[in-house]
């Protein structure tokens, strides 16, 4: 048996099940458990305060403080899930994430574990420059931290469960346009990311990419919203006789190099799609890493389709220009097919 759930619902299920399974699991964040409130900025924890009155903690607006508190609770053996309402605010908590959470095991000579989960929504969604950044680039590659991104409800539930059970700090990126939030918190221009969720317990292992669409002519790498755009592009390309393989990178730290390299070596052409400024993005490491690993089998240079190197603009016209889409992905593929 399966049920069709949105990402918001799937995350809510994952949190509920993990909290039922393990009394050490708890949530803390702003506006996550207020009766009559929002259940967090995107309804993920809606109603959970009734089920777990003592383990859904509404915090003051103190990102550095409660992220640090999550780390402190984790080193005592608790398994906190801390979230920011918009990933842009992670900068305020970044000292606790990078200098403490990610380093404490190492600094302590392996005597400390920090089993904490951080959740953060990304994406340009008509809110202007300070509520729109894609923050993946700032956390990918931080030693001691694991980073994943859930582009559909199945992965969202499985990745969050895996993250909660992991003994290291895990940062999960979610996308505002993919939650499927309802009611007052619904997003205009949202994309359907619902999945059939099995009624049995499952996890999606951290560190694994997923082939969304097998193909032979070219490899398209993407995650979150861009994975959906890539799939749309792939259908267009199929109609044009180009058989693209689409991979949801999903694990941004570490990368699932074996899956990514195998595909790149097989197709010989790789296009990486990223929402966010092109320069210094996560795609840079993907491109550089694939060149190092597959140099001999690449027919063309690895190319990137990403946003312009600008802050996120408010005007819808500009934001839509900022955000890569299927059309730009198709164009990028055409460019790549001209090689060799």
């Amino acid at each position: 048996m399966t049920r069709r759930l949105s990402i918001a619902e799937a995350l809510r299920e994952a949190i509920t099940e993990e909290m039922e399974r393990d009394p050490k699991v708890f949530c803390l964040g702003e506006d996550i458990g207020v009766p009559g409130g929002f259940g967090g900025a995107f309804t993920v924890t809606l109603g959970l305060e009734q089920k777990f009155p003592d383990r859904i903690l509404d915090t003051p607006i103190s990102e550095l403080g409660f992220f640090g508190a999550a780390v402190g609770a984790a080193l005592m053996g608790m398994r906190p899930i801390a979230d920011v309402q918009y990933s842009d605010f992670l900068f305020l908590a970044m000292d606790q994430i990078v200098n403490n959470a990610a380093k404490l095991r190492y600094m302590s000579g392996g005597t400390l574990s920090i089993p904490v989960v951080f959740r953060a929504p990304v994406g340009a969604t008509g809110r202007g420059s300070q509520h729109a950044q894609n923050m993946e680039r700032y956390f990918h590659g931080v030693p001691g931290l694991k980073v994943v991104a859930a582009s559909n409800a199945y992965d969202a539930k499985g990745l969050l469960k895996a993250a909660v059970r992991d003994d290291d700090p895990v940062l999960i990126f979610e996308h505002k346009l993919l939650y499927g939030s309802k009611g007052a918190r619904a997003e205009s221009g949202a994309t359907d990311a619902t999945s059939d969720i099995p009624d049995v317990d499952y996890i999606v292992p951290l560190g694994t990419a997923q082939v969304l669409r097998p193909g032979s002519d070219i490899t398209i790498l993407a995650w979150l919203l861009m994975a959906h755009e890539a799939m749309a592009a792939a259908s267009t390309l199929a109609a044009q006789g180009i058989n693209a393989e689409v991979i949801d990178v999903r694990s941004l730290s570490p990368f699932d190099w074996s899956t990514l390299s195998e595909s790149a070596a097989r197709t010989g052409r790789v296009l990486i799609v990223e929402e966010g400024p092109k320069t210094g993005g996560v795609s840079a490491e993907l491109a550089a890493g694939l060149m190092e690993r597959c140099a001999d089998s690449l027919i063309a240079p690895v190319l990137r389709v990403a946003s312009a190197d600008v802050p996120v603009p408010f005007a819808p016209v500009l934001e839509n220009t900022y955000r890569p889409d299927a059309a730009r992905i198709v164009a990028g593929v055409h460019q790549l097919m001209q090689w060799g």
């Binding site: 702003e30 009559g36 607006i61 809110r127 420059s129 300070q130 007052a184 005007a315």
Partner: protein, 332 residues
């Protein structure tokens, strides 16, 4: 707090002043109501944080400032902007994301501002405008100027490190900054008592060795006078000052929030204390016709703004790449 303004105080003010203050509050209220409609009907993009019920804070503070004084604002900036003198046109165009807006459509609702009118584009990172305001005060002091900076933020922001660090800096350097905390009892959906043991925000002033004062934020004249006092202190080098304005948000935190987390009786109490009604009740009945004139004038002004905004040109995709650096980078 009482259900009417102190008569003695009201009568001290010339009628034109009271009418002017009244008109600005009505302008803000009607602007916000119109924006809400536009948003709900789907013709306005983005998200909105509105200030219905808090008009006396914006107007009381800004009326006490000089034109060349500065303000910083937050995710909830419309009232501050209108009170500081931004036009409904430049704001409405900005909210529609059109080129003629006060930020060329690149800022949007949460970053409304116009430095020529003394308003820095609003900072939507809660607390993020506080260190900024201290730095502006520092610039003023180092250059021996006589301006003051009024820094708006909510009570929720006072739990951010930025508040602590920003206020302490202004204090130790005696900067001309008035920290204006609009305590509307909620940070988004979270009631203040869930976020701190402290019951009066102004008590935090002691921890920085500065003067703190709590004022009825729905009494526009009380706000005006408190700000005047604070501004004078700042200009005399005795700043900064922390003003707590007790007020209430009549609408949702943002967008379609039905604010169910606000208890009904609490809402009822504050609706009775609506800042516009309070002032209206304090004005003599002879002014009735004046007041309805104001009403009509304001509504007309806002309709014009809406039409102007609807007609305004969209940015072109090329505009995406401008305004990033003083001189564009050419990176081959």
């Amino acid at each position: 707090m009482s259900l009417q303004l102190d008569e003695a105080r009201v009568t001290q003010y010339p009628t034109h002043f009271l009418l002017d203050v009244y008109e600005r509050m009505v302008l803000i209220r009607q602007f916000e109501e119109r924006v809400k409609l536009l948003f709900l009907e789907g013709s306005m993009p983005g998200t909105i944080h509105q200030c219905q019920g808090q008009e006396a804070c914006a107007v009381g503070v800004c009326t006490a400032l000089q034109p060349d004084d500065l303000i910083t604002s937050t995710h909830r900036p419309h009232g501050h902007a209108l009170a500081k003198g931004l036009t409904p046109d430049e704001m409405m165009i900005e909210l529609f994301g059109k080129t003629g807006g006060c930020c060329k459509g690149k800022g949007g609702s949460m970053h409304i501002g116009n430095i020529d009118k003394g308003m820095v584009p609003a900072i939507a990172i809660v607390g993020g405008g506080i260190p900024l305001a201290s730095g502006m005060g520092l610039a003023i002091k180092m250059q021996g100027l006589s301006q003051v900076v009024a820094c708006f933020f909510g009570e929720g922001a006072t739990n951010e490190g930025a508040f602590h660090e920003g206020v302490n800096l202004a204090a130790v350097w005696s900067l001309p900054v008035i920290f204006i905390c609009e305590n509307n009892l909620y940070g988004a959906s979270t009631a203040i008592h869930k976020t701190t043991r402290m019951t009066r925000v102004s008590d935090r002033a002691q921890g920085y060795g500065i003067r703190g004062e709590t004022v009825d934020g729905n009494d526009v004249l009380a706000v005006y006078e408190a700000t005047r006092r604070a501004a004078d202190e700042c200009r005399q080098g005795q700043g900064p000052v922390l003003l707590e304005l007790l007020t209430y948000r009549r609408t949702g935190h943002s967008r379609r929030d039905p604010n169910h987390y606000q208890p009904k009786d609490e809402q009822a109490y504050w609706h009775e204390r609506d800042p516009i009604t309070l002032l209206r009740n304090a004005l003599q009945d002879e002014l009735e016709s004046e007041l309805s004139l104001i009403e009509t004038r304001v509504l007309a002004r806002i309709e014009t703004a809406v039409e102007v905004a609807r007609a305004a040109p969209e940015p072109t995709p090329d505009d995406l790449l401008t305004d990033v650096y003083a001189t564009p980078l050419h990176t081959p």
